[in-house]
């Protein structure tokens, strides 16, 4: 099965999914309704994408949107799928996909810490890497890491030569 066939199959089977074949063996799937992300990923998993290799988040500051991005891999068809779910940046909430892939728990915990996305249904969203963090989540684009470092640790910029 080529990526073109698989994209057509995904878009045909789930009404909110918009699947575009990219080059070689890649598919980009956009989720129209983030509230149904778990059901959609369960459907995509049943088509042969049994492996979730990564779960990450992209901050689009100008468009006021977070793209929660799931990277899936099919061992059977050798196709890589990128599933994106755009959520509102002001109130970032999305259901957990722990029921589909249990290992998503730790990824979601990290994204909650670094971007402040709330994963509804994830039992443990405690701090993972940061120690006693009080500011806005550090990987958001509007977080000024240099100003933070200057203020918190007394960093100094060297003179430009």
């Amino acid at each position: 099965m080529t990526n073109r066939d698989m994209a057509a199959k995904i878009a045909g089977g789930w009404s909110d999914a918009e699947a575009v074949p990219r080059f070689h063996n890649q598919i980009e799937v956009t989720c129209g309704n983030p509230d149904t992300i778990a059901g959609m990923l369960h459907y995509i998993q049943s088509l042969g994408f049994e492996h979730m290799s990564n779960l990450t988040c992209v901050d689009w500051l100008e468009e006021n949107r977070f793209d929660v991005t799931y990277n899936l891999w099919s061992y059977k068809y050798k196709i890589q799928a990128t599933v994106k779910a755009g959520i509102d940046r002001g109130e970032p909430k999305i259901p957990t996909v722990m029921d589909v892939w249990p290992q998503a728990q730790a990824y979601e915990q990290e994204i909650h810490e670094m971007f402040g996305v709330d994963f509804i249904g994830n039992p443990d969203l405690s701090s993972l890497f940061l120690h006693n963090w009080k500011d806005i989540p550090p990987l958001r684009k509007d977080f000024d890491t240099e100003a933070y470092s200057k203020e918190a640790y007394g960093a100094q910029r060297n003179k430009e030569v």
Partner: protein
């Protein structure tokens, strides 16, 4: 700032006799926080052979003389470094390895790494470089041995006498109660 300067607490004559023997047998606790750890195996093994100067690795802080901080120090790591340092018996020395403990190195504007290790524990000698070659490491450790012999490497006394100042700096980082930039969580 520091109340007592380095010159005021230099070791006396009796201490210097002891220091001569101390400087020839240094057990090193290497706290491999960052990338600097890759330069230690060649320094320890046969090509550069640190042990000919009497410096060898030690597994526990309770039996070590030198704390080697190799690389960047994140806030979580700083807490562990302070634990390890306070567990070590005196006399003890700290070596800042690479540019990161000096001024943050290439991670100077990161939100996660501290910039100056010297503000939180007393660093006796810094080996600059990113990363320092084994020759530089050996040169730095020999300089440390020299300053121990001269009685100038007294960071542990500095820590004891200015404990309030160091503890205040540590608390500022580790027990932060309000946001630094004033944003909401």
């Amino acid at each position: 700032m520091l109340k007592i300067s380095r010159e005021e607490i230099i070791d006396g004559k009796f201490e210097r006799v002891l220091n001569f023997f101390r400087s020839r047998s240094l057990w090193m606790l290497y706290y491999c926080t960052g990338c600097g750890a890759v330069e230690l195996p060649p320094t320890m093994t046969s090509r550069f052979d640190m042990e000919r100067f009497g410096i060898s690795p030690m597994a526990t802080p309770r039996q070590a003389d030198i704390l080697l901080v190799t690389g960047y120090v994140s806030v979580k790591t700083l807490k562990r470094i302070v634990y390890s340092y306070e567990q070590m018996p005196e006399p003890k020395w700290v070596v800042g390895f690479g540019s990161c403990p000096v001024n943050g190195g290439i991670y100077w504007n990161s939100y996660a790494t501290i910039n100056q290790l010297d503000k939180y524990i007393p660093v006796d000698i810094s080996i600059p470089g990113c990363m320092p070659r084994p020759q530089a490491v050996i040169d730095g450790l020999l300089s440390l041995m020299d300053s121990i012999k001269k009685g100038e490497a007294v960071g542990y006394k500095k820590y004891r006498m200015n404990n309030d100042w160091y503890k205040k700096n540590q608390r500022e980082i580790l027990e932060r109660t309000k946001p630094v930039l004033g944003g909401k969580k």
